[in-house]
């Protein structure tokens, strides 16, 4: 007979954690909505805060999938009289939803055709002859690809290549420092590159969707890139420095790795017409986003490109179903609706005024605070959920304190994408950890240094570079 000698409260918790969370949340929810309405807050605002608290807890604890929590938000908002149903459900049709869907479908086409793998092999093949140059090659390739497609998809796609390189070099799992360096370069390159544009992850378009829905203000594709690229470039150098110092190179030659890459490129054969066509469509799409995004709309350009993929029979619908998770629509719709609910009822601005009334705050301090909160939160939860939680408050802060709301959007969204420490922080890091070459302690300390440095770099960029772009804080 098995006897578990852990404390009783731990045993109860481990067996019934989900139900305890649901019960606690139900209690908190009813407590908030039945409490006397504080001064300055409307009854609808009070209910919006109750919905918000429930969603935050569910997103953090992950007892429900992220998208289902968003669905819960969508139904609670009209049921509680915060907004009418037609408004709530119409937010699923937000342009941001269709932009990210289009972007994911285009990325799926690149992955299915093998174009993304070919680009990876070509870049890595040119990485140079020294072990450090290969690390830099992996880091920068992962980052560059994450500019144009989901960073998680990049990590998943490059993972088998990194494994083959490690095998080819005869690296021992858990023992080889160079093995650790390879997989951390892959993970952190994808993470850093993923914040550069709208395409690296779901968080940036979600942020712009929430921003536009609440304020009418938008941020263009190129505008985002120009504002954030300096952070990315500096962080890539910092990441390279951290990796090469924490995981000192213990191999002399990478000739075998180069041979493997050469062979894989040879086996790939000539560029197929499918790859060429998808590459052209992708290039034209990015060109359209950068130069015609404001004129035609990012979502329109994205969906037009998707239609072109099917007109030229470059993908099948099954490919899209295999590579795209439609739950993203639910996540976006619910998050945008929740943000709108908090803003339109005045709940967000009430919360901000209540929390910050007694503090001497300056715009820069607010940017610093939001960025560090976002950075810490993202180590424990989904990037998109961090944006959904913090940005509505951030938008209210911007309006209360007269800060450019675009700066606030960057301050919440960019750090939300910079999770370096834990496998549960982001899929890219989890993928690296799953290789069997890295222990958790390998990534925690180095990741923390990277995280704090990224915060400092971000703040310096905000203070000294953004004013040059006309974005004053």
């Amino acid at each position: 007979m098995r006897i578990d000698t852990r404390p009783l409260w731990i045993l109860i918790l481990s067996k019934s954690f989900r139900w305890l969370v649901f019960a606690a949340l139900a209690g908190v929810f009813f407590f908030i909505i039945s409490a006397p309405t504080p001064q300055g807050l409307t009854p609808q605002g009070q209910k919006a805060i109750a919905v918000f608290v429930v969603c935050v807890a569910l997103w953090v604890t992950h007892v429900l999938p992220l998208m289902i929590t968003s669905l819960l938000a969508i139904i609670l908002l009209p049921l509680l009289g915060i907004m009418d149903s037609s408004r709530a459900y119409s937010l699923f049709g937000n342009q941001a939803v269709f932009f990210i869907l289009g972007a994911f479908i285009l990325a799926a086409a690149m992955m299915k055709s093998g174009l993304s793998t070919r680009i990876t092999l070509l870049f890595l093949g040119k990485a140079g002859k020294s072990p450090k140059s290969l690390l830099l090659g992996i880091l920068s390739t992962a980052a560059f690809l994450s500019f144009w497609m989901s960073e998680h998809a990049v990590a998943a796609m490059m993972f088998p290549i990194a494994l083959e390189i490690s095998h080819g070099l005869g690296l021992s799992p858990l023992r080889s420092r160079y093995g650790k360096a390879i997989f951390m370069s892959l993970a952190w390159g994808a993470v850093v590159g993923g914040v550069a544009t709208f395409l690296g992850g779901a968080r940036a378009p979600l942020a712009v969707g929430i921003l536009e829905e609440n304020t009418g203000i938008t941020i263009g594709f190129f505008e985002w890139m120009i504002a954030i690229l300096p952070v990315v470039i500096v962080m890539l150098f910092v990441a390279y420095f951290v990796i090469t110092n924490f995981f000192r190179v213990d191999v002399d030659s990478i000739d075998k790795a180069k041979a493997i890459l050469k062979q894989k490129i040879r086996l790939k054969g000539k560029v197929s017409s499918e790859e060429r066509s998808i590459g052209i469509i992708m290039f034209l799409t990015i060109f359209g986003w950068i130069f015609f995004g404001k004129q035609f709309g990012l979502a329109n350009i994205a969906i037009a490109s998707v239609v072109l993929l099917f007109i030229f029979k470059l993908v099948k619908w099954k490919d899209i179903e295999d590579y795209v998770n439609w739950g993203i629509i639910l996540m976006y719709g619910g998050a945008i609706a929740l943000g709108y609910g908090l803003e339109s009822t005045g709940a967000a601005s009430w919360a901000v005024k209540s929390l910050l009334a007694n503090f001497d705050v300056t715009p820069l301090k607010i940017i610093m605070l939001l960025a560090i909160i976002s950075l810490v939160l993202t180590e424990g939860m989904s990037n998109a959920a961090v944006v959904a939680i913090l940005l509505p408050a951030g938008i209210s802060i911007a309006s209360v304190y007269g800060i450019d709301v675009r700066a606030i959007t960057y301050a919440v969204t960019v750090p939300a994408g910079l999770a370096f420490c834990l496998p549960m922080s982001t899929p890219s890091v989890a993928i690296a950890y799953s290789s069997g070459y890295i222990k958790m302690k390998d990534m925690i300390f180095a990741g923390a240094i990277l995280g704090l440095t990224s915060w400092a770099v971000f703040i310096l960029t905000a203070k000294y570079y953004w004013p040059l772009l006309g974005l004053k804080i």
Binding site: F104, A156, F159, E321, T426, S434, G436
Partner: protein, 153 residues
């Protein structure tokens, strides 16, 4: 006498192999090495890719298969290494690869293969982790009747 050495993808300590070989030699026993492929990690990665990364199932499935193949490869390489060391010391050897949760697979192997002594690595676990999730090696000691030798990291 059967000396069972249990390793996993998430916890392998070189000293454990040496300890198991020493015990097998001293007791003139057979060394049975069980390598547990921990499927929890690739399954977690799959869930993160789909739930947090909003990637479709196919890349997640392919990644999971790649990870498990890698784990299997690491397992067989480790078993080959231990077999080679065992043969050099004149110790009878058997290697087994299993997939699943570490404790469950270790208990099952110990019962099926009639282990007399179980040698396991004890990787450092945070106190909070042990408090909340329990210690896998403590659980092994509770569930098995045979002697359990822990080799600390």
């Amino acid at each position: 006498m059967n000396i069972m050495l249990v390793l996993s993808t998430t916890c392998q300590i070189d000293k454990t192999k040496d300890a198991a070989l020493k015990i097998a030699k001293e007791k003139n026993g057979k060394l049975i090495t069980v390598f547990v492929l921990d499927s929890k990690i690739p399954n977690t990665v799959f869930e993160e890719l789909t739930d947090m990364g909003f990637i479709g199932e196919k890349p997640g499935v392919e990644l999971t298969e790649t990870v498990m193949r890698e784990y299997r490869k690491q397992a067989y390489e480790k078993l080959d290494e231990i077999e080679s060391d065992a043969k050099a010391k004149g110790i009878d050897f058997k290697g087994v690869v299993s997939t699943g949760a570490f404790v469950e697979e270790a208990v099952k192997a110990a019962e099926d293969l009639k282990a007399d002594v179980l040698v396991v690595p004890k990787c450092k676990e945070a106190k909070l982790w042990k408090l909340v999730f329990g210690s896998s090696v403590e659980e092994l000691k509770r569930r098995l009747r045979c002697e359990v030798v822990l080799v600390e990291e």
